[in-house]
């Protein structure tokens, strides 16, 4: 398989941008301390009507969907053997690993009795069977899959780091790398297969979680097709995140953008987006819910905005498939990501009405924690791509303008 050579980006880690991220993280950490010392009631605006807020809806549900890039690219590279996408793989996996770790961090902030989280992987094996696995619970499956998949992602991200340690790391790390890399090589197919199956399982189940809220989820969103729709949108969002990550890396880290390769994703993304819009419209029409779509309320408006964004994304991306230009490419991908993100936020927040009079809007603390998690994600990404061979290496004989673009 012809692969691109990857190389550490090098350069200064502590740029002004990085410093801004540090500040955001620091402020968010204070908010985090408030959450753990004073409780969720003080720190968040979540309540008994809206027990799930942005930490779930955005950090976990949208965040992991955007973190499906690793799965989505691995699908192309390792299952369908489209080798030309390989240069995208390592950064995509890192983005995914960080996205899932960020989601897991948000979970630790969100759950009230976080000290019991250790029980989830081992419940049937401790406490003498007092608690076991409830296989009817979609959330159990999500929890186990996310835990496993996060581990799988870091294992998939490990090779660049291990390679560097093997070649030039200090003694103990070199020995560790030397021992671990062969094992990884051998187990790679299993790891990769898990990395394809696990995300399909839990990304669809993230949609299924809302099936139980029969009286609370608005008719335009509640459907047995929720798992399918979440799966459809997560693949597109994953590719969109890969494109966005590549473009932002390119811009911030002054790094050339592999536009042609990225452009080839657009056809798939356009198709998925159009399919998603078609399935949703058909579902709403066939289940007799069209009257809800033409009602004069916010729900109908949001529904059409979602459909509109998906259709617009499909059209914009379709136009990019032969002549991919970076700016329009990234913007079209962003529209797709927005469509998927809005869909998820609607399912978990705006289309959810418990009927007991409560309202919800995230509190300042919730927002600060979310921003802090985002900034840590970004900081770790920057650090790792500068220090380890994750991003594709550039050619030594580069055109002058490209050379000027490098620091």
């Amino acid at each position: 398989m012809a692969t691109a050579r990857a190389a550490p980006l090098g350069g200064k880690v502590l740029t002004p941008f990085f410093k801004i991220l540090l500040v955001v993280w620091a402020v968010g950490s204070v908010a985090g301390i408030v959450r753990f010392t004073q409780g969720l009631g003080v720190a968040s605006a979540m309540n008994d009507g809206y027990p799930w807020g942005i930490w779930i809806a955005v950090d976990v549900v949208v965040g992991t969907a955007l973190g499906s890039g690793g799965f989505a690219v691995a699908l192309l590279v390792h299952v369908l053997h489209r080798g030309r996408f390989h240069p995208l793989l390592r950064p995509a996996l890192l983005t995914s690993a960080l996205g899932y770790t960020a989601g897991a961090t948000a979970i630790v902030f969100d759950v009230g009795r976080y000290w019991n989280l250790w029980r989830v992987p081992v419940a049937p094996f401790v406490s003498g069977g007092r608690f076991g696995y409830n296989w009817s619970s979609g959330l159990l499956e999500v929890a186990l899959c996310v835990m496993a998949y996060t581990a799988v992602l870091w294992v998939e991200v490990a090779p660049p780091i291990l390679e560097t340690w093997r070649d030039s790391g200090p003694g103990p790390l070199r020995a560790l790398a030397r021992a671990a890399l062969p094992v990884l090589e051998k187990g790679l197919p299993v790891i990769l297969a898990l990395g394809v199956v696990l995300p399909m399982m839990h990304q669809s189940t993230l949609g299924s979680l809302m099936l139980v809220a029969v009286t609370k989820l608005h008719g335009l969103w509640h459907t047995p097709l929720l798992p399918l729709l979440f799966l459809l949108t997560c693949v597109g969002m994953g590719y969109a995140a890969v494109i966005a990550e590549a473009a932002l890396s390119s811009h911030t880290l002054r790094y050339p953008l592999a536009t042609p390769v990225l452009g080839e994703l657009t056809g798939i993304m356009a198709g998925l987006s159009a399919l998603y819009a078609a399935v949703r419209l058909a579902d709403v029409a066939l289940r007799g819910r069209l009257p809800l779509a033409v009602a004069a309320d916010w729900h109908a408006l949001l529904f059409w905005v979602e459909i509109g964004l998906a259709v617009a994304a499909a059209a914009l991306l379709w136009r990019q498939r032969h002549v991919a230009r970076p700016g329009p490419l990234v913007r079209s991908a962003a529209v797709l990501a927005a469509a998927g993100a809005l869909y998820r936020i609607d399912v978990y927040l705006t289309a959810f009405d418990p009927g007991n009079g409560w309202r919800y809007f995230p509190s300042v603390t919730e927002l600060l924690v979310t921003l802090a998690i985002l900034s840590v994600e970004t900081m770790v990404f920057i650090f790792l791509v500068r220090k380890f061979p994750i991003l594709p290496a550039h050619r030594v004989s580069a055109p002058p303008h490209a050379a000027q673009a490098m620091p």
Binding site: A45, P256, P260, R325, G327, R359, F361, P399, H401, A402
Partner: protein, 382 residues
Amino acid sequence: MAELEALGVSRRDFLKVCTLAAGAIGLPAWAGEKMADKAASGTKPSVIWLHWQECTGCTESLLRTSAPGVAELLLSLISLDYLETLMAAAGQQAEEALAAAMERGRGKYVLVVEGAIPMKTLQGERITRESDAHKAAYCRIGGKTALETTIAAAKGAAAIVAIGSCASWGGIPSADPNPTGAVGTREALRSVGIDRTVVTLPGCPANPYNLLGTVLQFATFGTLPALDDLGRPKFAYARTIHEDCPRRPHFDAGRFVQKFGDEGHRAGYCLYKLGCKGPATHASCALNPFVEVPGAWPIGIGHPCFGCTEQKLAFRVPLHDTVEVERPTAPGTYPPLVARRGAISPVATGLAGVAVGVLAGAGYMATRKLDRRHGGHEEDEP
């Protein structure tokens, strides 16, 4: 006024009571002054007070007041021409006094009836005609049956007031099996076809201030207070005990006495579970004290109200059976089905807007820069 001053009642006290009485029947203070002036001016309406099947408790509760002495005041405001309990005359003299009073004040006197009127003959039949009034078997005074005398007195009365539960609807004598056919004044008169307005002041005993208020209004203005469909003055009987009960906060908070003498009882908790009939009893006991001793009424001393004003309850429903609440008035403190809650912080809204704006804006700017930097050039091949 001179008599009152002789009795030790100052003009100020007198005015106070008149104002109180006026207030009790819902009139403003100036009405109280008018009543006082009218009384002082010397024209006193005649009152004929008849006693039938009763314990005299209503009269006694009136007489037992002393500060101010309602009895004395009443006796100064009205000319009590016939009251068996107080009058000095007896026997023939008494009968003549009654006949004279009825003749003299014909069409002008106020008839007050205390006690139930038995309507059954010795054979157990109910009397339905005036001409049979003499056949009533129980309760005869001066050779005339209660029904006869009441009919005669009613015909010449300017106003008829039935004081006490017995006169209002039959009271104790009418309790099962009601062997004498005891009924209230209103029903007795209607049974024989006399359809006169009868002001009923139920209670066992009736609150003397309610009588005071009624009589004063009639004496001063010549009108009777607004009455409900049972003839009860609305100023005293429109509300249930429950609505004004001093222990109501305990009811609302769910604090109940479980049995006599328990901690809750000592703490003055609500007596509903012990069978208090307050929620279904129309009376003014919670608002108007009977005597000058505060709290001298059943609930005040820790016994559930037994509904003495209500025909459906008193001497009918067991003392410790609970009743349904009439017109349950859920106060504003009851939670509604759905209460709007959840604050939306403007600071958070602003922060969210700023964050989304910055991220979206910066992202867009980045893509514009991408256009400028890479537009038209071939990429480095990986």
